[in-house]
Symmetry: C2
Subunit: 286 residues, 2 copies
């Protein structure tokens, strides 16, 4: 998905937010904003939003000498969501369609996104996502694909969201490889974050060799690329995975909340929609 | 009030919104964004937000050859608010304190601000502002000042808001000079907009010689400056007038809604607050 002009103000907001979380001085914050504007001016027309976000957060880490500005927020999110884990499990057990409920829970977890907004109401969002109509509903296709798959490659998104993913993975009842970032970027999950959420008990954890948001294949390790290209079924969580993989011919199911106007427009849904979208293998743009 | 780093993303959003309203092509929109970033990089540290907004909207008008991108939005706002005029008058007539109710109506009108947001819910906002506690309440001081004043200089803000101002002016029961912009900027009221709202029936309309948002004294005409410096009582509507005059030693009452975090922080109130603030003449920063 191409970067929209609407992303420009959002990148500045994100640069400022990240620099403050990293403890930047006012002068450093201004320096980071000015440098972000320089980078935006040089952005190739076909760049995806995660490519720009990668540059911004790299710069923030370098300027502030803070390698993980979202550390505390990530730990807090994982603690909060772990406390919800028993309730989430009960919801799946009581459901008439456990797989659908678990998929909705995984989508609900996608509200924990500090790239898009500074805060979120996890509980209210969960209640909504459990009953809200799917704006794109490939649940039937996912069930069919699961039936024919012996294993699943699961592209993770954010720390805390990991606990919601765990509930989904436990319901999938297939061997799952859970793919995290190689090192910190925004509040995206790393191996450490996934382990804190207990993912290692239900899946094999690997990293993709990159610390870009989403999955920028050009930046990923050879070993991850091998897994990705061999996969018969990929579950990709969150906006950045959609932004970076929406043009790829791969058997992907995207699970996300459309939290900004740009991605909502690209998907052809209303902002705030919940989406379970099968990649269109004949025409990923279709 | 100094421009905050938080204003940077907001300026880009505003530049994009204005260029689209002006009918800019995608290429022109990008050009305007890039030029806005250049201007931001050169912004003096003590510049106020209206100084930057002036540059942005000047650029949009030049690049698109559209001298009044908000024309249609302004006319629509005036039509909508004129239809509310009888109901607003009834509210003042039925009020136990007509001046307070009319002041609240004038503050409610300040939601019609297309610099801050793309849309607003006028009716819901009115109901709220009529009963919401004033976060800064200089109503008693305003009443006292009115008692000792033979005339009032009233610095207008936006088209449509003008109709709410008219209800307030009719309640003030003093000769009022209503100051509009000399030519279009955002949805700020010009003479034409004020006349469409019927202001000429209740006040003398003058312009300030400038088309900056708010009141940038450096940009105003000599005749306006004479009136401003002689005035014994100034009513200044909206954020931009506060942003541009908050450091002036003048007998100003600011009436506004704090619609963004930056101005809310400067005023020491919560975002969404309603404010009727007397300028502190011993220390405007105090």
């Amino acid at each position: 998905m191409k970067t929209s002009l609407d992303c420009y103000p959002c990148f500045l907001r994100q640069a400022l937010s990240a620099s403050r979380r990293a403890g930047a001085t006012e002068d450093q914050q201004k320096e980071i904003l000015l440098h972000t504007m320089d980078q935006l001016a040089g952005l190739p027309g076909d760049a995806t939003p995660p490519e720009m976000a990668l540059q911004i957060h790299q710069q923030v880490r370098e300027q502030t000498q803070n390698g993980d500005p979202y550390r505390e927020a990530k730990e807090q999110a994982t603690r909060q969501t772990l406390s919800l884990y028993p309730m989430l499990k009960e919801k799946v057990e009581a459901a008439s369609d456990p797989l659908e409920t678990a998929a909705r829970i995984a989508i609900a977890g996608n509200i924990i996104d500090l790239g898009v907004a500074e805060s979120y109401d996890l509980q209210a969002n969960l209640e909504r996502v459990l009953i809200q109509e799917l704006a794109i509903d490939s649940l039937g296709a996912l069930k069919k694909a699961l039936h024919g798959s012996s294993e699943i490659l699961y592209l993770a998104d954010n720390a805390g969201e990991t606990v919601f993913d765990r509930v989904f993975i436990e319901t999938l009842d297939r061997p799952v490889t859970y793919v995290v970032k190689a090192s910190p970027i925004i509040n995206d999950a790393t191996r450490e974050d996934a382990i804190e959420a207990g993912i290692h008990r239900v899946a094999q954890i690997i990293d993709n060799g990159s610390n870009a948001p989403g999955t920028l294949l050009d930046h990923c390790s050879g070993s991850f690329l091998g897994r990705f290209h061999d996969a018969k079924l990929v579950i990709a969580k969150g906006q950045a995975n959609y932004e970076s993989l929406s043009q790829e011919l791969a058997p992907i199911f995207f699970l996300l909340q459309a939290k900004c106007d740009v991605i909502a427009r690209d998907l052809g849904v209303a902002k705030g929609s919940i989406v379970l979208k099968r990649q269109n293998l004949s025409d990923p743009n279709g």
